[in-house]
Amino acid sequence: MLSLKKRILKIQKDRNFFLVMTLLLCSPLAVYGNSKKIYRADRRMGDRFYIASRLQRIFGAESSKTLEENILSKVRAFGGACSPYNVISEFQKEGKKRINHHTKYRCYSGLADSKVEPFIDAGILRTGHLHKTCDLLVAKQQTYQFAINLAGLGSNSAKSDSNLKKMLRLFYPHSKKLPLALKKVKNPSWKLILSSLCKSDYWQIP
């Protein structure tokens, strides 16, 4: 058995090897070369209002509390400034307790929320909150049923291509082709399909 050093020496004699190595090393350097990037390309995701609005349309009015707790109130994860003076709020007496009424445009964490970015690129926070929201909405019978009905399906509908397309169009209304990944899944439940679509990234990019 030859030692490593001898093997390297042997290979270095091969002229083709040098050609390959030169290409491997030099081509990326040539591409990067002296170029300087002056821009940042963030994925132009929808903000918290957009995400909440789309999901509410898909899962119905029963989803509003879940959406407020997991999407609308997560200003730093999704972006979208609050409107400090757009808040309808008054302390009203209900029995002895004061009740504070707000709109979804309120500043959850104070006035600094009015200065946040108009949208925030997908990150671990955003993904985590969305996944949790999707799980909750699919697990809740009323919201799940609303989505199934909206797609024109029933819980026992067959997993045919046309039915899968109906489900897909809830999130991707302009989609014409069924993604291969969705075709290949073997005998999935509608809940799993709905949840996967809900958690996917691309519908969040308007």
């Binding site: 390297i8 290979i11 990037k37 821009y39 390309a41 929808g46 409107s83 003076y85 108009p118």
Partner: protein
């Protein structure tokens, strides 16, 4: 394949990756300094000698000089062809007898012969070298930059703009969508129609309200300072002074047909939002929902407790609800403070008799508005400006940052050598490196010299903060623009100077007599328009292009960067021409970039 082949392959790949990584790390630093090595054989024989001197005596600390060609010294302004005495490089050399503030190299001076070689090289340099950045010609455009497979349909473009503008997808009954589907209306026209429907004189529906809210929120996010210098003063002030005040100028320009873009920096009126006022103001907006502090129970105060002058005050509150219109703010009796204090400490506060108009504007539209002055004044309550240490520098820094998208320093060392005041008691007036920032912000801050922040009362949490504008007295004369301390500085006419390198690398030096003139000087430049274009481009596509002095590094940008710079300048110049924010949006929505599914362009040639 034998493992013997893969060992060296992996080894080389690893070396390649490390090299790439190091290259990338260097590139991030290259934003400030260029650190490429150069081909010396292409340089003049004189510069080859100079390069060796620099290599021996300077480069171990100033490593970026290793990448400087002859032209680089001129382009970066560190060498003035023909004039060693005014050249930053020569000026700072120990023993050069030019009177430089910083002697270099720190330990061992250059020999007389080395200094002579340097001086001779500078004297012999062609002045033509300095003209390179001024021409500012961008390399040719990309021949093919889109991916046809990722191009949106007309319907999808409308879906996109509707979703971005209103933050909700169009529903199946959307009339504009129906027209786009039938081919009766182009997507761009449909997007513009959405904006038109949201103009202030139109009927308000929920989509129009959402669109106004989206854009007003966007404009408001550009002005990130809102905390008043004294934190205690914060919460009642925001119910009297609109926290979104500066943004109102941009929003009015977008949604009012009679307010051109250039009016943002013109005139002497503050703006007020007209909102739907569904419910009366009932609690401080600053307080979180758990709070039970109610406006009606809390009260506002003017005056001082110690001399028993403190009394209730009933100011005009900022309107609440959906944004319906933005109008010129006309002060009434509720906007006049009968008394005010120079600080909130009950023992030390000096009381002043009003009336103080809390809606006064210094001119120049947005930059002279109460909200922009107050949120950016950056000084203690009661301080008057003296032209030295006391100047509203945060305000001028924010003019550059918020409106021109430019961060300090904005001058090259060569630009500020003439500003060095060796006899000044103020340390930053003696150093060229400090003056690269101060020579921009100090003469600009002179425009806002009249302002002093004051408080309405000494009530622990019942006072509001405002800007008092001192009346200028022409009889005092202009005086010097930058002095160590002038007790009458705040009373002199507010003349000043706009001084910075614009994004083409051109030195802007423009004097003004007041804030209104400063607004005009800013409108004459391209920077304001290009900054606005940059912000809309980011909002609509997610592409954030840095705005800086492009002239010195034009040749080092990658092709995509150059394409974005070109597009940005195009958008900005168009805005300067048509003065209409809707058209700016139209220009972006009609672009190839906006119609790409992934908002990307590609360098395929």
């Amino acid at each position: 394949m034998k493992t013997g082949f893969w060992v060296p392959v992996l080894l080389f790949l690893a070396i390649g990756s490390i090299t790439l990584y190091l290259k990338d790390s260097n590139q991030s630093q290259a934003r400030v300094t260029t650190s490429h090595s150069i081909d010396l054989s292409k340089e003049s024989p004189q510069y080859q000698k100079v390069f060796k001197i620099l290599e021996t005596s300077c480069n171990h600390c100033h490593s970026s000089y290793a990448g400087y060609s002859e032209a680089s010294w001129v382009i970066t302004g560190q060498v003035i062809p023909g004039n060693p005495q005014r050249s930053y490089l020569y000026y700072h050399l120990r023993g050069s007898e030019t009177g430089g503030a910083e002697s270099m190299p720190p330990k061992k001076a250059l020999s007389k012969e080395e200094l002579r070689v340097l001086a001779e090289w500078i004297r012999g340099l062609s002045k033509g070298l300095a003209k390179m950045p001024a021409s500012f010609s961008l390399p040719k455009t990309l021949a093919k930059k889109i991916n046809p497979a990722l191009t949106l349909t007309e319907e999808e473009v409308y879906f996109r703009c509707h979703s971005q503008f209103s933050r909700s997808a169009p529903d199946s009954e959307d009339q504009l969508l129906a027209k786009v589907k039938k081919g009766l209306l182009s997507s761009v026209d449909a997007c513009l129609q959405l904006l038109k429907n949201a103009t202030f004189n139109s009927k308000s529906d929920s989509i129009s309200n959402s669109i106004r809210r989206t854009f007003h929120g966007l404009h408001n996010s550009w002005f990130n300072n809102f905390l008043l210098f004294n934190l205690q003063a914060s919460f009642p002030s925001y119910d009297v002074l609109d926290i979104t005040g500066p943004a109102l100028y941009f929003t009015k320009s977008l949604f009012s047909s009679d307010f051109n873009f250039n009016q943002i920096l013109s005139g002497n009126q503050n703006l007020r939002a007209v909102r739907s006022q569904e419910v009366a103001n009932d609690y401080f907006i600053y307080k979180k929902e758990s709070s039970e502090m109610r406006l009606s129970q809390h009260g506002f105060f003017v005056g001082k407790e110690k001399n028993k002058s403190r009394k209730n005050w009933n100011p005009n509150f900022v309107a609440r609800g959906n944004l319906l219109d933005i109008k010129a703010l006309k002060a009434d009796s509720k906007d006049l403070l009968p008394l005010y204090l120079d600080q909130t400490d009950s023992y030390l506060a000096k009381i002043f008799k009003g009336p103080l108009n809390i809606r006064q504007n210094l001119g120049g539209g947005l930059i002279g508005s109460q909200s922009f002055l107050l949120f950016n004044h950056g000084r203690e309550l009661g301080e008057t400006m003296d032209g030295g240490l006391l100047l509203p520098r945060r305000w001028s820094k924010m003019v550059f940052s918020n409106l021109l998208c430019r961060e300090l320093p904005l001058l090259r060392k060569v630009d500020v050598i003439k500003d060095i005041q060796k006899k000044s008691d103020i340390s930053f007036r003696k150093q060229a490196s400090c003056l690269q920032c101060h020579s921009s912000i100090d003469p600009l801050a002179a425009a806002a010299r009249q302002m002093t922040a004051v408080a309405s009362s000494d009530h622990p949490d019942g006072y509001t903060q405002h800007i008092r504008l001192h009346s200028s007295n022409p009889k005092l004369g202009n005086g010097k623009l930058l002095v160590d301390s002038d007790t009458s500085y705040h009373l002199r006419p507010p003349h000043g100077r706009l001084r910075y390198r614009n994004l083409y690398g051109k030195l802007v030096e423009s004097s003004f007599q007041n804030m209104q003139e400063l607004g005009q000087r800013l409108l004459e430049q391209d920077d304001l328009y290009i900054c606005t274009a940059k912000r809309y481009l980011y909002f609509l596509t997610g592409i954030d292009v840095a705005v800086e002095d492009y002239s010195t590094q034009l040749k080092s940008y990658d092709p995509i960067s150059l394409e974005y710079i070109r597009f940005l300048i195009f958008l900005g110049k168009r805005l300067k021409q048509h003065q209409n924010l809707s058209y700016l949006i139209k220009d972006i929505v009609s672009s190839d970039l906006y119609r790409q599914r992934d908002y990307q362009i590609y360098a395929s040639d």
